[in-house]
Subunit: 125 residues, 4 copies
């Protein structure tokens, strides 16, 4: 479900954080869904349990996940007022910047915009 590349210079916890947020963005994870346990995900990703726990804790502080001691971790009410906080024009200009960055990085390793789009379409829930 998630993946992590230990040889990428981006810290593992940041990769996982983004991976979980991306899974929510694509609809792969929905409000109320349970995430793997800390220890299970650590085993799956071949990563230390503390690293996973740190990510879950950060996402809880950020309001993305909810954890109940002794029970588990679930996806929280999301997308509440995310939209309303940013104006449409602002969102579009930010999206342009984000996409610029992605495309530049993708080009640098030999990927075309078509391949990028194909990848994203494959991830749409």
């Amino acid at each position: 479900m998630f993946s992590v590349n230990p040889s990428d210079p981006t810290p593992i916890y940041a990769q996982l954080d983004r991976g979980i947020r991306a899974a929510i963005a694509t609809g792969q994870l929905r409000t109320g869904d349970r995430l793997p346990t800390v220890r299970q995900l650590a085993v799956d990703l071949k990563v230390n349990a503390n690293t996973v726990a740190k990510v879950y804790a950060e996402l809880e502080r950020a309001g993305v996940l909810a954890t109940q001691r002794g029970v588990g971790t679930t996806v929280r009410d999301t997308a509440e007022d995310l939209v309303s906080r940013t104006s449409k024009a602002e969102r579009e200009s930010t999206l342009r910047l984000l996409a610029d960055k992605l495309l530049a990085d993708a080009y640098a390793i030999g990927l075309t915009i078509d391949e990028v789009i194909r990848h994203l379409e494959a991830r749409r829930a």
Copy 2:
């Protein structure tokens, strides 16, 4: 020309490395072009000069840049050279991480994957 985000958990050296490679890949920098001096770029990016120097040195070792005493640092590689050094597996893993980052950032401002795809499709033309 390049930019660096100190609050992104990705190490600054990695951001700069990717930025330079991306500039070459997208044709903003061509073979023979001169890069800013280490000190100048450090000032521009508000980054320690050692960090810039390390990136230049690393890119020189990788054959992407060339340093000539008294002349400065120039682009050695072409975009194709860059690409040919990246394996298919590496490309796919990196694409996933890049897409995760885009999706996570986009979601944080209230954009869905569909809007992201639509934006990219509009730019394909």
Copy 3:
């Protein structure tokens, strides 16, 4: 400057977090002041460096501290709009609740309100 009681059931990191916030509240720490290094404070408090680092990181995310990699940690612009976010009536009723809690806990170990006041006065910068 700070103190921590390992036998108190409150997690050490939470004690230290509160201690630092309290030091700012009392004026003992002011905007721009440098905090002890992670390792130094760890030695002083007889606590693991990771525990201190976790607190600094949390306070940075909360906007209370600012850290520069390789440099150190300082107190950030504080008290900006804390006041304006809460109405006066709300603040007073919250203060009453907070004080209730403190006094009840203090009574339970045999402290009078006068002793509590004396302690707070001694900590006023």
Copy 4:
């Protein structure tokens, strides 16, 4: 009568333990008074019954409460008994932690130490 804050990092059992001791110290509970049943209190506080049971058991071991089969749990100690079991050093260390918590919470809503002291002085009368 008691309250518990699940988002406070202080363990729930510790919050409840302090709450019961505080209720005795402030005279809300007197020797011989009956406490709610474990299950009732668990429901009221939205807490697991095991947690409440452990606190009652711990307070019984400490001589603060007494459990009689078929009757329930009652207060055994007086406020003085509670106090006499706390050493001076412990009292001072705890007072500092309690004050840190109050100051940190107060500051978070924009109150200064002076306002806190003024509030407490007004309640002394």
